[in-house]
Every structure is written in C-alpha cells, then in structure tokens.
C-alpha cells in the first residue's frame, strides 16, 4: 500500500513537471560494443576481438573526448552546451555527461556532438582536468589534446602478442618542424531530430570495431604504434570513425 502511494505521488509530481516544463536537463550516456557485442571494462585484457583485417586483439585502455553538444532548430538557431567529457571506459568513469545548462523544450531538427575538440577548443594546456589526466599532445605535434586513446594487444603475423596504441589526434605532418601542416580530424556526430519535452538522456553507442573497418581496413601489423605523428594514419582514423557512433535511444 505504501509503495502504491509513493508511486502515485511520483507520477503526480512528474505530471506537474511535464505541464510546466520549458527547459530540460540533457545528459549523454556512452556505451560500447564490438559489432553488437557489449564491451565494458570487465571485457578488457582478453584477446578476443577480431577486426575486419583478421587481427585478433584485446582492449586494455579506452578513453576518448567528446565536446560541443549542439541542438539545431529548424529556423537555423543553434544551442551549444558548454563543456566536454573525457569518457574513461577503462575506469568506468564519466560514461555519462550532463550539462549544467538547460535546453529549451521543443523540436530540434538535429542534435550533434564532436568526437575530440575542434580547433577553437583544442588549446594547449587550457583544461586543468585534461592536463591532470595527461591527455595532452606534444607541442611538436601541434599541441592541444588527444581525441582518443585505444590500446591493447594483438597477435601479429608472426603469432607474437604485440601492444598497439591507437591514439587519435588532429592530423599533423611534422616532416618540417618549422612548418607543421594540419588536417582537421575531429568528427561531427549527428544524432538526428528529436523533440525535447522533458529532461532527456541520449544513449550513444560506440562500435569499437568501426575504427578498424570502414572505409580503411586497418592492418595492425603495419599500424600499431607511433601513430600520433603519422599523418595518414590519423586521416584514416578520422575516416573510419565516421560511423563509430550511433544513437541507441533517447529516453525522457
């Protein structure tokens, strides 16, 4: 009886809230899979995943940065949420991100976020929490911050167990240290239209296998470490990352 009363009370409050809601809190939840098989940190450290190239690999560490969550109105208005989030799958922390700012309720033609930082935000040393996490990119590679650190082991062509460090940053050609040449590799992830009528959670999935798959079949035997200064590898990561994220659901 007490439980029923509690539920009724909750529902009544919710109903009132919904009636007067003009702004909503927004949260993003990040989960991960390997071609549909759930990946959490409890699955780490076992060589169990096979990429499209046939390399068998493990995940030992996975962290990545998302930023600039943006809501688009059909009239061209954009609402950009301040802040960024370093998703740390290794430690199972910051898998959810809530903005302090509220978003007006209503219809939005698109919602997006950035994988990594755009150039406006990718400022060397600007963020104490990211500095404290040693998330920085060396100045000789243009500075700023990592976009992703995906690390683990794989079985190479000689059947040896080898470490890999798939680190994504802004692509840079540093063959001439006095004239670094950049190519933007942050990724705009578009989640589609949504109606916000109440506090809302966006449940976003990353398919880790996509980073090795399409359009570039990733051969870990060739590309397994020292990838940060590798301009072409960074562009390939950018291309493969286009389909790594998807919107699983939106829950009010």
């Amino acid at each position: 009886m007490a439980v029923s009363f509690f539920m009724i009370t909750l529902m009544a409050c919710q109903s009132n809230d919904q009636a007067i809601k003009s702004e909503a809190t927004i949260s993003f939840n990040f989960s991960h899979n390997w071609d549909g098989t759930i990946v959490t940190n409890t699955d780490f450290n076992n060589i169990q995943y096979t990429n499209v190239n046939g390399d068998i690999l493990s995940i030992e560490r996975l962290r990545y940065l998302i930023s600039k969550i943006t809501f688009y109105k059909s009239n061209g208005e954009e609402i950009v949420l301040d802040g960024y989030n370093l998703v740390d799958v290794t430690n199972g922390t910051q898998l959810s991100f809530s903005s302090n700012a509220l978003v007006p309720t209503g219809n939005y033609s698109n919602v997006s976020f950035l994988f990594g930082f755009d150039n406006e935000d990718n400022i060397s040393g600007a963020y104490p929490d990211l500095n404290s996490a040693s998330w920085n990119v060396p100045e000789m590679l243009g500075g700023g911050y990592h976009f992703m650190q995906l690390e683990g082991k794989f079985i190479n062509d000689q059947s040896e167990e080898i470490g890999y460090a798939y680190h994504a940053i802004r692509a840079v050609d540093n063959s001439n240290p006095d004239n670094l040449i950049f190519q933007d590799t942050f990724i705009e992830v578009h989640l589609g239209s949504v109606m916000i009528s109440n506090d809302t959670s966006f449940n976003v999935e990353m398919n880790v296998a996509e980073w090795f798959k399409n359009p570039n079949t990733w051969d870990l035997n060739v590309l397994y470490n020292s990838l940060m200064p590798n301009f072409n590898a960074q562009v390939m990561m950018y291309e493969n990352g286009q389909n790594a994220f998807s919107l699983e659901s939106v829950t009010p």
Binding site: G125, N131, S132, N136, P138, E151, K153, I162, G163, S226
Partner: protein, 355 residues
C-alpha cells in the same frame, strides 16, 4: 562560515563526551592552506584535502615532529624519516629499507612530494591503500618496519610530557589516538611540495635550459623516440607522473605481482605506480625494487632492456627488440633533461628538515 560553525559545534560535542576542560573546548587550530605553486595553479586540478583533516599550523607542526620521532617504532629506534630522508627527496638511498630488527623490505622506499595531487589517492607502489591518512597507518605496524602496535604508540605518546599538549593544540583534544596521529602526519606530508626545478623556472620564464636539456625534452615528448610523456606527464602536467599503474617491462617472469596482488586480477600482475620524475638527482636507486642504481641504467632499460610478459603495457614499444633504441646522444640528452626536473630547494627547505 557554515563549515566553521559546524566545526566548533563538533568540537564541543566531542569534548563534552570526554569531560575535558573548557580551555580545550574552545581551542581552534590556525588554518594553513597549502601554498600551491603557480605552475600547479595554472595547469592542474586542485589538491586533495580531506574535509575532515584540514591543514593547520599546529597539525602540520605536530605531523612534522611525529615524522622525525622514533617514538612511533617499537624500540624507539626508527622514525618515518629514516626511510624517507629529506636529502633523498624523502626516499631511501638504500635499495631496500631496514626495519627495527634489521630485516629488509622488498621494495624501494617511495619519495614523498606533491602527494596532495595524487587524485586517485592510491598510495604505495601497488596502490594498496586509499588516502594519505590511511597510508600512514601501515609502516607503524609492519613487522619488517616499525613493528609496533597502535595501542603502544598511543600509550607512549599519551605518556609523553609534550605530545598531549600538541595534540590538543592541533585537534582540540589531548586524548591521543592513531587516527589523529596519521592525520597530523598526512598534514605534514601534504606540505612537501616540490615545484622549483630548473625546468619549472624555464616554464615560468625565469630561467633557460641548455641545448642538451631541450633536446632531451624533445626525446621525452617524441612518440617515435622516448615516448615518456604518456605515463610521466608533460609541461602542462607538472607532476611528471600519471599516478597510474603500469607494467614497464622489467621482468619476463613476474614474481612481485604489484597491483595484481591488491586487485586479485591477473591482468594487473607486475603493475606498479609510475613514479614522478621530479628529483631523480636525489632518489636513486630507481624502480619499485630499486634495481637500477643510475639513470643511465633506467634509460638503457627502456631503450634496449624491455622484457616481454603478458601484462606489459601496450605503450612499451618494440619489446621484441628490447625497446626504442635511442642513440647515445639521445640518451645523454634525455638524462640531462630528467635532471633538470630536480629541485634543490626542496631538499634544503628548512620547513621540511628536522630542526
């Protein structure tokens, strides 16, 4: 203001229960916030100060006295400072430290500085203790270290002519217990801040580096050469450690499980905390077991001496070739840079010495 009011009420209640005097009731120690270095203030998150153990003048002074006092050991022969000597950046020049019975431990004493910026608060080489206060509990009762019991420590301190007064000044009670002892020691340890190396001055625009030191910094930051920065920080992370646990390829066969023994996860076997690279000029020998006596040996390890094992960190590159194979010039330059992270003023700071 609210916190201060609550603090006073809390003290009052405790003292009421223990029937102490009114003078003790109203005693309140003097706040002594950490003096945060500019580079830390500008670049990294604020230090961790437990809400129930704020820094105070009296608490720090008491902690310092306890740190240097052999009264904590069973036979009054060994103080914290015996294995954490100021001249060694609060480490031990010996590979393994000797306890009161002459028995050696099996790991090198960790240096002590910038401990308030260990954000995950996992202490010891294997991270087995959470929080600086809890860390201080262990050496006192460790049978190969001070080999004491806390009951005895409390009794000895309580019976001394001066400690009850010092505890009253620091914590508002002259009833001494182990929790207050470790709180005081932790307060002192949090003041052990090192941020005045040659490289710090360079970053602050107050000094210059030699060409060799700058070359060494580039080796450190170059992913195709030293690639040290992923675990040991960078100019924007002046701690020079990630305070995370790694297997850095010391052994093909893991005998000391390190973090693995703590977590019970075989995937953690052979992992130890990355130490800060500050003050290497004073902290030899190196590694968790002090196996390397010189920086040259350390650099050679990463260059040619890596040993493969199932849990070796993926960041350890070219393991099958022994490492990244730096040139002799690169090794010399890297050493020069590393030594530029040493802070002479830290080991000579009177506030940290037993005087």
């Amino acid at each position: 203001m609210i916190k201060r009011g609550l603090h006073i009420v809390f003290l009052f209640l405790i003292v009421s229960c223990t029937n102490e005097t009114v003078e003790q009731l109203i005693y309140e120690p003097t706040p002594a916030p950490l003096n945060i270095p500019l580079l830390f203030e500008q670049n990294i998150l604020a230090p961790i100060i437990p809400f129930n153990n704020p820094q105070t003048v009296e608490g720090i002074a008491l902690g310092k006295k306890l740190f240097f006092d052999p009264i904590l050991s069973a036979n009054n022969t060994q103080a914290c400072a015996d294995c954490h000597a100021p001249e060694n950046a609060f480490s031990d020049a010996n590979r393994f430290s000797e306890g009161i019975d002459g028995i050696l431990g099996h790991r090198n004493s960790m240096p002590l500085f910038n401990l308030a910026w260990n954000y995950d608060e996992k202490f010891f080489w294997d991270g087995r203790v959470f929080s600086l206060e809890h860390q201080a509990f262990e050496p006192v009762t460790n049978p190969v270290e001070m080999k004491n019991t806390w009951a005895v420590v409390e009794q000895k301190l309580q019976a001394s002519s001066h400690y009850p007064k010092l505890f009253n000044e620091a914590f508002g009670t002259s009833t001494i217990d182990s929790t207050l002892v470790t709180k005081a020691i932790a307060q002192f340890e949090r003041t052990l801040i090192s941020a005045n190396s040659k490289f710090d001055k360079y970053l602050l625009g107050e000094g210059v580096l030699t060409a060799q030191e700058l070359n060494g910094f580039n080796v450190f930051m170059d992913e195709t050469k030293g690639d040290c920065f992923h675990c040991h920080g960078n100019a924007n992370n002046p701690l020079w450690t990630d305070n995370v646990f790694h297997n850095n390829g010391l052994d093909a066969v893991i005998t000391d499980l390190g973090l693995g023994k703590v977590t019970g996860d075989p995937a953690d076997n052979g992992k130890f905390k990355s130490p800060s690279l500050r003050n290497l000029a004073f902290t030899a020998p190196y590694m968790h077991d002090g196996r390397f006596t010189t920086l040259e040996e350390v650099i050679n390890h990463y260059s040619e001496g890596l040993q493969n094992s199932p849990t070796i960190d993926p960041l350890m590159k070219k393991v099958s070739q022994g490492g990244v194979h730096l040139t002799e010039d690169e090794k010399t330059d890297l050493k020069a840079f590393l030594l530029a992270l040493s802070d002479e003023t830290f080991i000579s700071n009177p506030a940290f010495l037993n005087q």
